[in-house]
Amino acid sequence: MKRLPQALLLCAFAVLFAGAGYLVYQWRSSDLQPDPVTTGQMVLAAKLPGLDGKPHPLEQWRGKVLIVNFWATWCAPCREEIPGFIKFQDQYGPQGAQFVGIAIDTPERVEPYAREIGINYPVLVGGLEAMDFARQAGNRTSVLPFTVVIDRNGKVVTATVGVLKPENLEKLLKPLL
C-alpha cells in the first residue's frame, strides 16, 4: 500500500494538532493554579468571622491536617457531603485531622443548619468575597463545594471542585495523618 506513508503523515498531523490543542488547554487550566506552598500560606493567613461573630484566624490550626470546605446552605451537593465530614472529624480528629467549613452564606441561615445536622467542627462565615479567596486557591469558576486539603507543613495537597467522595478523602487523609 504505497499510500500508507501519506496516511501516517495525515495521522501525525492530526495527533500533532490535537496534542497542541490539549497542551494549550492544560496550560490554560494550570494558568491560575498557584503553587501549593503559597496557597497554603494564604489559606492559613485568612481570618474570617465564626458563628459567634468573632474573627477566627485559620493560623490556629497550623500543624494539623486541615480540610477547608467551602459550602453554603443553598448548595445541595454541599449538604450531601457534610455528614461524611462530620463522621471523619469524629474518626480522624484525634489523629490530627481538622475540618473547617467556610460558608458563603449568612450566619442566620448557617447557624440553624449547623445545629440541625450536628456539625462538630468550626464553621466560619464569609460573604461573596470569600469566593475570591477560593478562586485564588484554584477554584477558577467560583463554584461550590470546593475543598482544600492542607498537610501538617502548611502545603496544599489537593484542591477539589465538587463533591469529595468519602473513599477518596479517606485515601487522601490516611497517609497525611
Binding site: 494564604m42 458563603i104 461573596l128 465538587g162
Partner: protein
C-alpha cells in the same frame, strides 16, 4: 484511499476517547444572560443555560435602576420539578429560557435603565454557583410614543461588565424553537436549513469528492447516471446523519456535550488545518484522482459495487463535514436526546442532510457541465478555500484559546491571506480589473490583520475592537482614575510620606479578582467618587504576580488577598475601622470616602 480515511478517522477517535475531564464553565457562560424590550411595558429576559446546567426558579430577583421603574417578577413560567433530597421538590429551568416581565414606568422622562438580575444555578456535575447579579442596560427611547413604528427594532445593550450577549440568535436555539412545530413542518424546516448550510464553507471538502465520482465517466456521463450517482452519494451522507440523530435519542445528552469537549474540538480543527494545507498545495491530498482510479476499476467490473463505494464515500463525507455543522447539529441532537423522540430526530437530520445535498445532486444531474472546469484560476479558488478552512479551524477552537492566542491566530491568517493576494506586491502597469480588486481585498485583510496584531500586543482582548486598548491609553481620564502603583512596603511608605497632608487610599488589585474589576468599572469611574478621590493620594498594589514583596504587603495589612482597600489619614496612619473588603456601590463608597476626608 479508504484505508487512509479510515486511519484518519480512527486516530481522531483515539484522540477523542482520551477526553479530558469536563471543564466547568464560567458562570457568565453557563448562564448567559440578556434582556431586551419586546414592546412598551414588556421586558424579555433570557437565560441561555448551557447543557448540563440548571437554574432555580425561586432564586430569581429582578430590580431596576432608577427605581421609578418597577418590574413584576411574580409570574415566572413554571419550571421542571426536580426532587431534591434536602430542599424537597424545587422548580428548575434548563436550556434556552425566556420570560416576559411586565414593566411599569412611573416617570416618562426615563430613557434608559439598568436591569439587575440576580440568579442562582448549579451544574449536573454536582457543583453550584453562588448567587450572581448580572446587569443589562435597557433603552426605552425606541418606544417613545412619538415613534411607535420603532417597535420592530427593540434592542438592549449589556452594561459594561454584564455578560456579553453574543449573536442575537444562535443557531442552536433557532433549531430548538423549530422543534415546537408539527412533524412535517419540522422536517421541511430542516430541509431548508440544510439548503442554507450547503452555502457555507462546510461543503467545500465535498466538491472535489463529487467531481472525483463524476469525472471518470467523462463524455459518457448521462444526466440520469450523474443524477443517480450524486443522489446515492447524498443518501449515504443523509443516512449517516439520520443515524446520528437516532444515536442521540438513545445516548442521551452525552453526545452534545461531547461535541463541546476540548479534545473533539481540537481534533476537528486539526482536520480542517490538514485540509487547508492541501488547498495551499503543501501536499497533494489527491482525493479525486485516487477515487478516480478506484471507481474506474470497480465501475467496469460491476455496477452494484460502484454504487456501494459512492455510498460509502457519502458516509465518510458526512463524518468529515460533521464538525463544521456541529453548532446546528448540537442543538438538534440536544433536543432529540431530551425528548427521546428517535423517529423525529432521525427524520429531521435526514431532511437536513438532503437539503445540504441538493446542490450536489444538481451538479450531478447536469452530468458534470456545472462542475467547475479545471484551470489556473482553480488554484486561486483553492487557496481561498484553504483560508476559509483555516478560519473554520480557528473558530472551532476559539472557546479553548485565551483571547490573545485567538487574536494572534486571526492576525496571522489575515496577514498570510493578504500576502497570497499580492497585497504588498506592486501592481503591474495596466493590470486587469480583477487583480486590482484582489489587491484591494488583500490590503484590507492586511490592515485588519495588522490591527489585530497590534491590538493583541497592546493588551486589547476584544477581537471586534482590537485597538480599543490603545484608545483608552490615550484618554485615560474617561475611565477609572489613575492609580499610582506600589509594589512593596518601602514604595508604599515613600508614597504615603510624599503625599503627606492628604489622605491616602491603597487598593489591592489582581487580574483574577472579580470584585476589583467591578469596583473599577462601576465605582471608581463614578463622577461623585472621582471628585472625592481627586482630593486624595490613590495607590494601587497589583498583586497578580504574587511576588514576595506583594505577600509582605498583604501580610502587613493582614489581608489574604484582594479585594481590599485600606485608608490612611492625613498623618499617614491607617484608619482601622474603614477598610472596604469586596464590592461597594458608588453611593456607599462615596460615603466611606467622606469619612476619610473628614
Amino acid at each position: 484511499m479508504f484505508i487512509r480515511l479510515i486511519l484518519l478517522i480512527l486516530c481522531l477517535l483515539a484522540g477523542a476517547a482520551r477526553a479530558a475531564e469536563p471543564e466547568l464553565l464560567e458562570p457568565e457562560k453557563a448562564f448567559k444572560f440578556s434582556a431586551r424590550l419586546l414592546a412598551p411595558g414588556e421586558l424579555e429576559v433570557r437565560y441561555e443555560i448551557a447543557p448540563g446546567y440548571y437554574m432555580y426558579r425561586d432564586k430569581f430577583r429582578f430590580g431596576a435602576e432608577p427605581s421609578s421603574i418597577t418590574l413584576d417578577a411574580s409570574k415566572l413560567p413554571p419550571g421542571k420539578v426536580k426532587k431534591d433530597e434536602f430542599f424537597g421538590d424545587v422548580q428548575i429551568y434548563r436550556g434556552d429560557m425566556r420570560f416576559v416581565l411586565p414593566l411599569a414606568l412611573a416617570d416618562d422622562r426615563v430613557s434608559r435603565f439598568v436591569l439587575k438580575a440576580e440568579s442562582q444555578g448549579c451544574a449536573d456535575l454536582g457543583v453550584c454557583y453562588p448567587p450572581q447579579e448580572q446587569k443589562a442596560e435597557i433603552r426605552l427611547a425606541a418606544f417613545s410614543p412619538a415613534a411607535p413604528a420603532a417597535a420592530v427594532s427593540p434592542f438592549a445593550q449589556p452594561a459594561p461588565g454584564a455578560a456579553s450577549r453574543g449573536e442575537s440568535t444562535s443557531e442552536h436555539t433557532m433549531i430548538a424553537e423549530l422543534f415546537k412545530g408539527g412533524f412535517w413542518a419540522l422536517v421541511i424546516s430542516f430541509f431548508g436549513f440544510g439548503l442554507l448550510l450547503a452555502l457555507t464553507p462546510c461543503m467545500f471538502p465535498m466538491i472535489p469528492i463529487l467531481s472525483g465520482i463524476l469525472v471518470p465517466h467523462g463524455e459518457h456521463l448521462t444526466h440520469a447516471r450523474g443524477f443517480a450517482l450524486s443522489l446515492v452519494y447524498v443518501l449515504g451522507m443523509a443516512i449517516t446523519y439520520a443515524l446520528a440523530g437516532v444515536a442521540a435519542g438513545l445516548l442521551g445528552t452525552m453526545l452534545s456535550s461531547a461535541l463541546q469537549n476540548p479534545w473533539v474540538l481540537s481534533s476537528f480543527a486539526a482536520l480542517f488545518v490538514v485540509l487547508a494545507l492541501s488547498m495551499f498545495g503543501l501536499y497533494e491530498l489527491q482525493l479525486p484522482s485516487a477515487l478516480q482510479s478506484k471507481l474506474a476499476v470497480t465501475s467496469n467490473k460491476l455496477h452494484g459495487g460502484h454504487f456501494a463505494s459512492v455510498f460509502a464515500m457519502g458516509v465518510l463525507s458526512a463524518v468529515i463535514v460533521g464538525p463544521c455543522v456541529a453548532a446546528p447539529l448540537a442543538g438538534a441532537l440536544l433536543y432529540i436526546s431530551q425528548s427521546g423522540n428517535v423517529v423525529l430526530g432521525g427524520s429531521a437530520l435526514f431532511a437536513m442532510a438532503l437539503g445540504m445535498g441538493v446542490p450536489l445532486v444538481v451538479v450531478g444531474a447536469s452530468a458534470g457541465t456545472l462542475l467547475p472546469k479545471a484551470g489556473p484560476w482553480m488554484e486561486t479558488v483553492k487557496r481561498f478555500f484553504g483560508v476559509v478552512l483555516l478560519g473554520v479551524a480557528i473558530y472551532l477552537v476559539s472557546p479553548l484559546l485565551p483571547a490573545v492566542a485567538h487574536m494572534l491566530a486571526w492576525a496571522a491568517l489575515l496577514i498570510a491571506f493578504a500576502v497570497y493576494l499580492h497585497a504588498i506586491d506592486p501592481l503591474p502597469h495596466g493590470a486587469p480589473g480583477y487583480r486590482k480588486l484582489f489587491k484591494s481585498i488583500g490590503v484590507i485583510a492586511l490592515l485588519a490583520g495588522v490591527a489585530l496584531l497590534i491590538g493583541a500586543l497592546a493588551g486589547g482582548r476584544d477581537i471586534l475592537q482590537p485597538l480599543a486598548g490603545l484608545r483608552s491609553a490615550v484618554a485615560p481620564a474617561a475611565a477609572a482614575p489613575k492609580f499610582q502603583r506600589v509594589n512593596s512596603l518601602s514604595e508604599l511608605e515613600n508614597a504615603v510620606r510624599i503625599g503627606a497632608g492628604k489622605p491616602v487610599m491603597l487598593d489591592f488589585y489582581a487580574d483574577w479578582c472579580v470584585s476589583c474589576k467591578e469596583m473599577e468599572r462601576f465605582t471608581f469611574a463614578d463622577d461623585e467618587v472621582r471628585a472625592r478621590l481627586s482630593q486624595m493620594v490613590i495607590l494601587q498594589a497589583d498583586v497578580t504576580a504574587n511576588l514576595d514583596e506583594h505577600k509582605a504587603l498583604l501580610k502587613r495589612f493582614e489581608l489574604f488577598g484582594p479585594p481590599g482597600i485600606v485608608f490612611f489619614d492625613r498623618a499617614g496612619t491607617e484608619i482601622k475601622g474603614l477598610r472596604v473588603i469586596g464590592f461597594q456601590s458608588a453611593d456607599k463608597f462615596a460615603a466611606t470616602l467622606d469619612l476619610v476626608l473628614r
